[in-house]
């Protein structure tokens, strides 16, 4: 703890003391209280760390991650070459509206409130706003833990606060579920992360309301690198929901988050994402959970929008009888590539994993499924079931499926099935004949295709999902 207090003392008065503000080419935009400028080097990382008044070990963690990021090539030997168009020197890696998360709605600056309003925050977001850790650009602009939740001993803070105030809880798992060097983008996040949610649920506590956070990118060329770590202690339960809507920008934007989940013995975590990035966003996210004995981790991931999304939520099934599940819905419209999937790493006996993926390709959209199921030697009684269904709507759309399944030993059952189908002109005509517009007919078909999955979403989310699909389909027909 002493190293943290040291840091706090030396930087308490001026968060950027000790930083040579003239060095480098930091552009100081007055709209933002703190701005790390464009481009990424050691100084950017030092700057972020200093602004956040971080302990030396975090700064070292960031610096070492930066080296890893710079040394790792882009994964274009298997991934889309579109990644090569990202200009890492033109991206802003840190912006902040001030460091202290706002505790009440009144404290939220008026211009931010206006932006929220203009975005049209969905009904259910308003309903839960009291409990929302809403991320506006890098820092949580609004944060208010529900009284009931904090009374239960649940910690729900942003990443800086989590590492600063509760290192004894979070340090143990931070960067452990997803090591810095897991991939180029997890390394990038580890170097420049800010914002995100750190949550700890004490043993036996079942959090009745889902915790929520909304992430938005609203500065042009500004990458958002939130970092989330959720630890559910033995026998506890949590549902976490994140939603993303981003306004349109003229140039590409990068979003690269890292989300780590830890379910200790008997715990249950459900992590729900419904996102709708604007179609110039690169959304390159690493999500993984560590499931201890008899615990359950379930990812529900719904991807709409973005230029390129690469996201393969995974579960490392470390404890006996643990369960992992990924439910994925992806909708790729014109100019969009949804490259999504799942990773199931079995590391204990009698572990079970399930993957259900449904993708929809519209117009020139492209949906790709990539999956890894790995059952190493000397385990017994592992099961995996994977289902991948793709729906193609127009003749120009494309779908790919690339699973990789490794099974060692004769005591497991693994099954992968995939199919491709389409919405036929006859189906659309049939529905039009009953008086539906082409867009409505399309939307009905698409909703029908994902219906069985959408049912697993909480009510308000499936309503929002349906609304998003309606909007996408309206624009997709001529």
């Amino acid at each position: 703890m002493s190293e943290i207090t040291d840091t706090l003392e030396t930087t308490a008065e001026n968060p950027v003391s000790g930083i040579d503000q003239l060095a480098g080419d930091f552009k100081y935009d007055m709209t933002y209280d703190f701005d790390a400028g464009t481009g990424l080097n050691e100084r950017t990382v030092d700057y972020i760390s200093a602004v956040k008044k971080e302990a030396p070990w975090i700064r070292e963690f960031r610096q070492s991650a930066l080296k890893t990021f710079l040394s790792k090539p882009l994964p274009t030997h298997w991934a889309s070459r579109d990644l090569e168009t990202i200009n890492f020197d033109k991206i802003r890696y840190y912006l902040s509206q001030g460091l202290k998360p706002k505790r009440t709605w009144d404290e939220v600056p008026a211009d931010i409130k206006r932006t929220f309003e203009r975005l049209g925050i969905p009904e259910q977001e308003r309903k839960f706003l009291a409990g929302v850790e809403a991320q506006f650009d890098s820092e949580a602009a609004y944060s208010n833990i529900k009284e009931a939740v904090s009374k239960q001993g649940v910690i729900f803070v942003n990443s800086s606060e989590g590492l600063r105030e509760h290192p004894e809880i979070f340090r143990k798992f931070f960067g452990k579920v997803i090591p810095t060097g897991d991939n180029k983008f997890s390394a990038l996040n580890s170097a420049v992360f800010s914002g995100g949610s750190f949550i700890y649920v004490p043993p036996g506590i079942k959090v009745s309301h889902p915790l929520q956070a909304y992430f938005r990118i609203n500065a042009e060329n500004f990458g958002q690198f939130e970092r989330t770590l959720i630890i559910c202690d033995e026998g506890s339960e949590l549902t976490y929901m994140e939603g993303c809507t981003a306004p349109k920008f003229s140039t590409a934007t990068l979003h690269s988050a890292v989300v780590e989940l830890v379910a200790l013995r008997g715990a249950k975590i459900q992590y729900i994402t419904v996102q709708n990035w604007s179609s110039n966003v690169f959304n390159l996210v690493t999500k993984r959970g560590l499931a201890h004995e008899e615990s359950q981790i379930k990812w529900i991931d719904c991807n709409i929008g973005s230029r390129l999304t690469m996201k393969y939520p995974g579960v490392v099934l470390k404890g006996r009888k643990s369960r992992g599940e990924v439910i994925s819905i992806a909708l790729a419209n014109d100019g969009q590539h949804q490259d999504t999937g799942a990773k199931m790493i079995h590391a204990a006996d009698e572990t079970t994993s399930t993957v259900v993926s449904k993708s929809i390709s519209v117009g020139q959209g492209r949906a790709t499924y990539r999956g890894i199921v790995h059952i190493p030697r000397q385990l017994k009684g592992c099961k995996n079931n994977t289902e991948c269904d793709a729906l193609l709507i127009n003749t120009n759309s494309r779908t790919d499926t690339y699973p990789a399944i490794t099974v060692r030993g004769d005591r497991h059952a693994v099954q992968h099935e995939a199919s491709v189908s389409k919405v036929s002109a006859d189906q659309i005509f049939y529905m039009q004949q009953r008086g539906l517009t082409e867009g409505q007919a399309m939307s009905l078909s698409v909703n029908g295709f994902i219906n069985d999955l959408a049912r697993q979403f909480p009510m308000e989310y499936s309503v929002e999902l349906k609304r998003l699909i309606d909007l996408e389909m309206e624009g997709s027909v001529g």
Binding site: L392, S397, P403, I405, D410, A413, H416, E417
Partner: protein, 444 residues
């Protein structure tokens, strides 16, 4: 043994025993070959030499034991009379039209086609004869398709060093009822062979071909083989390959199948041999109505690695492909199945299926499945599936409770597992011959 001079290890790794000197000697031995053929071989060698060996990051070699793919210590074999070559063909001895037997790349025996078929213009000859007599057909069909599955280097090596092979040509409308059997045998440690079977079935022709690959001794050998199948409009080819190389052999085999309008090709590859055996199979459905049925059975045992890479490309509407690859894994064996279905944007009404089933019979065996799809047309029926599971313990118990010992029960269940594939063969004789080979292998 013609080992490479240990000057530059990097280069030696990339060409092994197949040095320019060895290649020059090989060319010099082909005194009777026409200039265009020698030129093709030179061009192939110049492609082979600079291409790198497979690398860990190559997607097309994912999960393969790349360290096991080395060219050092091998040199092209020399032919000679061999009694085993004839013996091997007896596995497919029933009701044949003709046989061709090769040892270490040279023709050592065989039975000619019946006069009736020869009179109709059917050709079952060596490639070297065809180079002289049918240069047009060879230019059009010999190694003419792209290498898309990762072995461009080894395909070039094959083309550069090929000594001889089989050439089957069935003219328009001619039906060859019984199989033509080709035996490719290898003997001697360090021997490299480049077996090749080229089958051209013209419009509405029908033919059945069997390739039987055998080792005469259990030494380390290198088989780098290829087969080209071309089915013209309405033609029908049944192709069966029984790969029974020695368990020390390194085997790389490249198949190309071209299916024209309304043609149908059924191929069944049985893999029993090789320490490391890789089989690449490319089916191109080039015109409406074409159908390619791709079947394979693998018995992976010992510490063998069986690596299968397939590609079904639908280039025209209303085409069909159906792939069923079944692997039984014993001991410390490994299998890799990597399959891809590509549906081109214009190939509407494609009906494509791909299935890989792994029967896990040992706790130390490892199966890897990569069943892939790339679909660019929207009006298609495309499905794939992969499973890895053990024998149903209930079934096993039931058999044992009737007094059947474990090994015999396993064998029964393995055959039960393979039956779905073998049943697809129309010919009872071929079905029986393959069963016999599998049984002999299991009881070895």
């Amino acid at each position: 043994m013609a080992l490479a001079t240990p000057a530059k290890p990097a280069v030696a790794d990339a060409i092994g025993g197949f040095t320019p000197e060895v290649f020059a000697r090989h060319l010099a031995s082909l005194t009777a070959s026409p200039a265009w053929w020698l030129e093709r071989k030179r061009s192939a060698y110049s492609r082979f030499e600079p291409l790198p060996m497979p690398r860990r990051t190559d997607e097309s070699w994912r999960f393969s034991n790349i360290a096991g793919i080395t060219l050092g210590g091998f040199s092209p074999g020399a032919g000679g009379p061999d009694p085993r070559a004839r013996q091997a063909s007896e596995a497919f001895a029933t009701a044949l039209e003709a046989t061709l037997s090769f040892l270490n790349g040279s023709l050592v025996g065989g039975n000619p086609l019946p006069a009736g078929l020869a009179a109709k213009g059917v050709v079952a000859s060596t490639l070297s004869e065809a180079v002289a007599k049918h240069p047009g057909l060879l230019r059009e069909h010999f190694m003419a398709q792209p290498q898309k599955l990762g072995s461009a280097k080894f395909a070039a090596l094959h083309e550069a060093f090929i000594q001889d092979g089989a050439f089957i040509h069935v003219p328009r409308g001619v039906v060859v009822d019984r199989p033509i059997v080709i035996v490719h045998a290898v003997s001697g440690a360090g021997t490299a062979v480049f077996p090749h079977t080229l089958v051209v079935a013209e419009d509405n022709a029908k033919v059945t071909i069997v390739d039987h690959f055998v080792s005469n001794d259990a030494t380390r050998q290198f088989a780098c083989g290829a087969n080209d199948l071309y089915a013209g409009h309405g033609a029908r080819i049944t192709y069966v390959a029984a790969q029974c190389w020695s368990k020390e052999a390194l085997s790389l085999q490249f198949n190309s199948t071209v299916v024209r309008r309304d043609a149908r090709v059924q191929s069944l590859n049985l893999h029993l041999g090789g320490k490391q055996a890789r089989h690449e199979s490319l089916s191109q459905l080039q015109a409406p109505g074409g159908f390619s049925e791709m079947l394979a059975i693998t018995v992976a045992d010992g510490a063998r690695e069986c690596d299968q890479r397939t590609l079904q490309i639908h280039q025209a509407p209303n085409t069909k492909s159906d792939l069923l690859y079944k692997n039984a894994l014993l001991d410390q064996s490994r299998t890799i199945f990597s399959g891809l279905i590509i549906v081109d944007p214009d190939a509407q009404k494609t009906d494509a299926y791909q299935s890989n089933r792994n029967l896990m019979l040992s706790d130390d065996a490892e199966s890897n499945s990569l069943p892939g799809l790339e679909i660019q047309a929207n009006d298609v029926r495309c499905t794939h599936g992969a499973t890895s599971s053990r024998i149903d313990p209930e079934q096993e118990f039931y058999l044992k409770s009737r007094g059947i010992p474990q090994k015999a029960a396993d064998e029964l269940l393995i055959f039960g597992f393979f039956e779905e594939v073998l049943n697809r063969l129309e010919s009872e004789e071929l079905h029986a011959a393959l069963r016999k080979l599998i049984r002999a292998h299991l009881r070895r």
